[in-house]
Amino acid sequence: MEIRFEKIKVTLPPDGRTLFRIHAWRVPAGEHLLIQGASGLGKTTLLHLAAGLFVPETGDVHLGPHHLNALSDEERCRIRRGHVGLVFQKLNLLDHLTALENVLLGQPPATSKKDARAAALAALERVGMAALAGARSAVLSLGEQQRVAVARVLAAKPDIVLADEPTSSLDQANADAVMSALVEVARDRTLVVVSHDHRIQSRFHKVINFSEMIAR
């Protein structure tokens, strides 16, 4: 599923200052793209825009055949549930849920309980977190939480994976494991990662600098 932005303008609340403009930008289906750039330019906002968490003041966002601007909030939500996997910068696990339950949260609703559980456990195993499947995310370290957040996306097998700094809290070995898992799950799917981590550049089809994509 491709991602396409046209004549996008994003402003910041409350004063309406322009965060960035993107004239045209496209991520072809199946492409693995790494976006790098300085902090505060709007990389996280770009991912949120691509996921349809909000729509821009002007311009159009397309996700595959879906024109996100034309869809209601609920319709965008359904598209996310079916097609988009998000790894948040702040991880955003529900801290009263166990690692396994957090992963199960991301499963498509039609999945049977048995299949969902098997997929969730396999995803946790893939990121080396199977042993801590029953631990509440509140007691996990930042690195462990990061791996659970990635496992949530792995288990859901979405058409598009959008990951915001997925390796920022991981050591080299775990960063490698997580990136391998992400790349593997995104095989033949679209993967967009925002990261400052230069260790992972080699795993992507394309690396771009965010400041070159945008105008202010």
């Binding site: 939500c77 549930r81 998000l86 339950e101 991301g106």
Partner: protein
């Protein structure tokens, strides 16, 4: 993961906040429930008062004591008036006093004897005669069996028969009512049920009726007739119906020249209403205020709880949970909290209310005279549930307006 499961996990895993909210709501429910039932009781206190009586004559005491003691079966064992006075009033309608004075009482329509002499379980047994039932204004109708014919027979009020599963022909054990006279041993005796009264909705439903003859026998046997001036031939009250203009004459007659006191039932009821209305209004206001405060505090606590979940809700929305699913999570959580708090609050209400009621003593009708079951607290439960639902509405409103992007970024 279903909204119900999410709600259950959120409640059970965040134990301390859940317990705090639960306890706070439950206390609110319990206190409001007890207050409401006290209010209902204070309002119903006189609802069961027997009617169809114009005047009551009793031993000198406060007018209200006589009224409530006779027609609402309240208070301790009352004082005595001589049976001879009753006989004079009824039989000859001419009263002969010990000093030789004579008064005509032709204005009396009916005079009925009334003396408490025993208790069957918690129910009072009244010694009276057939006039109690056959007086055209009494409104009493026999539902089964017949009036008592001899000493030892007893007619039951409908509630007594129903509660104790009694019918004509049954024999019941009873004890004399010694009241506060702890130095006296109760006399045990048996009575044969001859009839059951149709329900009247008054205190008579809770009472048993035997003959005056048996009452006197029991009182004498138990040494319960006081100073013995009247050889044990005593009554507690006479229930009188008379021509209204004759009241002053009867008052002059009884109040001035005997140990008895006449009270006008309508007048005493009016005084009672005036006295209690202020308290009832205050009670109603207090109950309403506590209900309101309870509801508001429940709403505030729930809103605080849900407000703290803003990020969680945004995360769920971001990973694809629709508004409806998230809304159901909140609704389930509110309902579960509300229901659990109502159950706990009702249990506390159920346990503490009898104690509170007994602590208030004579300020309320006795439990055997007027039950006030737990279910009468239902408006409080409904309010608590409504408050929890209302508390959900505000986060729901925010949820529907939530900017997920901003919430996730902490803006």
């Amino acid at each position: 993961m279903s909204p119900l499961r999410l709600a259950w996990i959120n409640l059970t895993r965040r134990r301390m906040p859940t317990v705090i909210v639960l306890v706070a709501i439950a206390v609110s429910v319990a206190v409001s429930g007890m207050l409401l039932r006290l209010y209902i009781l204070s309002g119903a206190r006189f609802a069961t008062m027997a009617g169809h009586v114009d005047v009551v004559v009793g031993a000198k005491a406060g007018g209200m004591d006589i009224l409530l003691g006779s027609l609402n079966a309240e208070g301790e064992y009352p004082g005595y008036v001589p049976y001879k006075l009753f006989q004079s009033l009824r039989d000859k309608q001419t009263v002969r006093f010990e000093d030789g004075a004579v008064k005509e009482t032709s204005y009396l329509k009916s005079v009925t004897p009334f003396v408490y002499f025993g208790k069957y379980r918690q129910h009072r047994i009244i010694g009276t005669d057939e006039s109690f039932f056959t007086n055209a204004t009494s409104g009493l109708v026999m539902d089964a069996g017949k009036w008592f014919a001899a000493d030892g027979d007893v007619v039951l009020g409908s509630d007594v028969a129903r509660r104790e599963s009694l019918k004509p022909g049954d024999t019941i054990p009873a004890d004399s009512w010694t009241g506060t006279r702890t130095n006296l041993q109760p006399v045990s005796f048996t009575m044969k049920v001859t009839g059951v009264l149709r329900r009247t909705g008054t205190v008579w439903d809770q009472s048993l009726f035997g003959t005056v003859g048996q009452a006197h026998a029991v009182l004498r046997q138990g040494g319960l007739t006081g100073n013995g001036n009247w050889d044990g031939y005593v009554l507690n009250y006479f229930l009188v119906n008379l021509d209204a203009p004759a009241m002053p004459a009867l008052e002059t007659l009884i109040n001035g020249r005997t140990v008895g006191q006449v009270i006008s039932v309508p007048r005493e009821k009016q005084r009672l209403a005036e006295l209690t209305n202020t308290g009832r209004r205050l009670g109603f206001l207090m109950t309403a205020l506590i209900l309101l405060l309870g509801g508001l505090s429940v709403t505030a606590m729930m809103i605080t709880r849900f407000e703290a979940m803003t990020i969680q809700l945004a995360v769920l929305r971001a990973i694809g949970y629709g508004r409806r699913a998230v809304a159901w999570w909140l609704i389930w959580e509110g309902l579960m909290l509300g229901c659990a708090a109502c159950v706990i609050g009702a249990a506390v209400d159920g346990v503490l209310f009898p104690w509170l009621r007994s602590a208030l003593g004579a300020a309320l009708p006795a439990p055997e005279m007027l039950a006030c079951p737990l279910w009468q607290s239902w408006p409080v439960w409904l309010t608590a549930l409504a408050a929890t639902i209302l508390a959900v509405l505000i986060p729901l409103h925010r949820l529907y307006r939530q900017n997920i992007h901003n919430s996730l970024r902490g803006v």
